[in-house]
């Protein structure tokens, strides 16, 4: 069987899930004695094509055209339809990216075929290829097979395969073949605008493994450096409950709770936080919760693994000192 992997790039940068799909294709190829080729679309892609050539593929198909420089669903479909009709692959695999969701079903439909999307794996059942996908928000898996003749279309969920398991080419470089594409402007119905630029936020608390959070107990912005010192000594990020961010004492991206971030770090140290439900829903998934509050009835103690009923202004400096000592010893 001939397997074609359609990779994804934007502005000459790889979408790394392309390599996950390539790894998947290589595994399937091994299991079913098939060949794998990889396609890349765009303009000015020689270095990316070279990357692909260094992997264990039978050939790299380079589809370059002015009108493919910026992604459009029509452009990609026209180009790939031509490629599929000329090279006749049996199985066409994609990473399940947002972009793939936009054009791949259209491509399959244009060829009168269906597509099995967002697969988390595959099985080889005595020669029959079975794709596995999740249903009901991951509560159950379904085995899906193709009934029709080739070509077959499928996409793999990000993380279902590992990009670092892509086999390199052990016998030099695969050949890079430029494929001519017949594409005219009238065939493209959409006009790509400037790419949306995401505002870069300074911190992503959802990725922080250690978080030190402050609440109303901190009383004044001048006291925040004491908490930041604890965070620094711990190697963690500073965060806060809503009142602190409302006052502007810490930026909004540091807010944790129902109208802020939801985090599940390894350690969550809550200083002077009462534990109102609006805050708790944003951090109750933390693996270990340590709370310091001078009110022994504060609701935070109901969910804390370790609680200290004390004045945070006594605990913070003591904690910082102890942490620094532990670091230096």
């Amino acid at each position: 069987m001939k397997i074609l992997v359609v990779t994804e790039q934007r502005q000459n940068k790889w979408n790394n899930t392309s390599f996950e799909t390539l790894a998947a294709a290589q595994q399937i190829a091994k299991d079913t004695s098939s060949t794998v080729s990889a396609a890349i679309l765009g303009k000015g892609l020689s270095s990316l094509a070279d990357d692909l050539a260094g992997k264990n593929v039978s050939e790299v198909l380079l589809l370059e055209h002015d009108l493919l420089e910026n992604y459009t669903p029509d452009g990609y479909c026209v180009a790939l339809k031509q490629l599929i009709e000329s090279t006749k692959p049996d199985l066409i695999l994609f990473p399940h990216s947002y972009q793939v969701r936009d054009f791949a079903p259209k491509l399959a439909a244009q060829l009168g075929k269906g597509m099995i999307g967002d697969c988390i794996g595959y099985k080889n059942e005595s020669g029959k290829l079975v794709f596995v996908r999740q249903m009901f928000q991951g509560k159950t898996n379904a085995d899906v097979t193709f009934q029709s003749a080739a070509p077959w279309f499928a996409s793999f969920q990000a993380g279902a395969f590992r990009a670092d398991l892509v086999e390199p080419n052990t016998s030099g470089k695969a050949s890079v073949n430029a494929v001519s594409v017949n594409l005219s402007a009238e065939q493209i119905r959409t006009k790509p605008q400037d790419l949306f630029k995401e505002a870069k936020s300074a911190v992503d608390l959802t990725q922080a493994p250690l978080i030190v959070a402050i609440g109303r107990g901190i009383k004044a912005p001048e006291n925040i450096p004491q908490a930041e010192a604890v965070a620094k000594a711990l190697g963690g990020e500073i965060a806060a409950s809503r009142p602190i961010c409302d006052e502007g004492w810490l930026p909004m991206e540091r807010q944790i709770g129902s109208s802020g971030q939801t985090v599940a770090p390894k350690l969550y140290l809550a200083l002077g936080i009462s534990g109102a439900i609006q805050h708790v829903v944003g951090m109750k998934g933390a693996r270990t919760i340590v709370a310091v509050n001078k009110d022994q009835n504060a609701p935070i103690f109901e969910i804390a693994d370790y609680g200290i009923v004390a004045d945070i202004f006594e605990v913070m400096p003591a904690l910082t000192e102890a942490l620094e000592k532990a670091k230096n010893s």
Binding site: R216, A220, D246, M252, S258, S259, S274, A276, I277, Q278, V281, N297, P299
Partner: protein, 558 residues
Amino acid sequence: MTPPQREQLEADVLIVGAGPAGLSCALHLANLIKKHNDSGGKPELSTENIYVLEKGREVGAHQLSGAIMNPKALAELVPDYEKSAPLDTPVTDDAALFFTEHGSFRFPITPPPFKNKGNYVVSLNKIAKWLGGLVEGSGVNLFTQFGGAQLIYENNGIAGVITEDKGIDKTGKPKDNYTPGYELRAKVTVLAEGTRGSLTKQLVEKYKLDNINPQIYSLGIKELWDVQPGRIAPGYVAHTLGWPVATDMYGGGWIYGLSNNRVSIGLVIGLEYADSQFDPHEAFQKWKTHTHIKKILDGGKLVRYGAKSLPAGGWYSMPRNYVDGGLIIGDSGSFLDSQRLKGIHLAIKSGMLAAETIFESLKVGDNTTKTLSGFQQRVEQSYIKDELWKVRNFHQSFQHGTFRGFVHTAFQQITGGRGLIDPMRAEAGYKHYKKLASPAAPPAHPEDRFKGDGQLTFDRLTDVYHSGTRHNDDQPCHLHILDSNICATKCVEEYGNPCQYFCPAAVYEMAKESIGALKLKINFPNCVHCKTCDIADPYQIIDWVVPEGGGGPNYEGM
């Protein structure tokens, strides 16, 4: 900001608010038009030019009531309602209870106002959702997440509504997704905004539509609970008087048993009390600790929380409900029987009568008061007047305490509502506050206020969380304080900032600035759209306006 270019849309009829009144108006009008067209009536009319606006995220999101519904109006609107309407359970038992701190006493004969057999215990949220489906099915355009922000005034009336601007940040500057509100012009605009409608407030003031009494309000605070099996029978209805409502205050509680071991409980407090430091939310939590209630709730789980004001003033406080190009229906027009605390059937009926009036107006091509005054005439010839006329002096009777109230209402009961004084005059609720004799204790730190035990009773924040209320934080505050100097100076001394206590959603806080002065802090995202602040603020400087559409509570099942 330069005045924006607004997109204009022309409609035949524009209804602001998709509650029972607004939806009934839309549905009945659509039905009348269909019958008219089907029988070859001329001119041919269309339902496509009827627009309904709803500020909530979906129909029903902002609907809250106890509720016990008299089905008579629904039966007229949807004759086969029994098959399709989400009527939870018929009333099986109606009790009137008198609470003292340690005991309760059931009136051997339930006084007539508390009799409810023949009615249904319902969730108004579910009824509204169901009606909304029927309205959309009739071809009417229903737009959720759009509020009426401004009225378009013309001649002696109104010509439509401007929806709120979307995409403005909290400093008032336009964001990337800025969209100016639409200018929706209509031949007839129907204000069905519910209690203390923000546009209704403006309209009543502009054209002096007030009746001999101003509109008077109560605040209802409600919790929905799932309780242990056997604690409450579906259809069990009880109203409580007495503890913890003092005799110089007007209020009482309710307990309504729904199916599946769900119970609706709440406390209603007249917003005309003298003690500016009174906290209705705390009173409600206290009421729950009464053995009678505790027995029901123990081991149960809080499902939802909410609060809403009710227009309790009655017949003499209903504003004139028609102007050139406009009608006021439902709670916005005070169509509520304050003796029996029932407004759903009156809202529905008022919507239907408005629809009939508008239907006339569309046929003859006149949208002035010449035709629209027909609405008031229809109201007076309907059972709306029959019901409300009998209780026209009810709420005012309690201005001077419970005992005098009972005396007055007893006489009213046997004189068809006339009683000892007719009409009984009333003052707006906020005028009843007594100034503080000595300065109020410094406002307690929000976290030192009533905490509750977390099982039976809750602090405000926990309750607010269960209202599902959300607002986009990055928008201007929708609670306009017309003179912010008063809060930290005059109000502190004279009334001790009652906003911190009467708001059931912990929106208002008097925070101590780091330099020692007090400052009003408004946590507007907590707002549940009950309108209490707009009603009960002693200086009337709080103006509630619609926030960006979609924001507000999520009263699923309420």
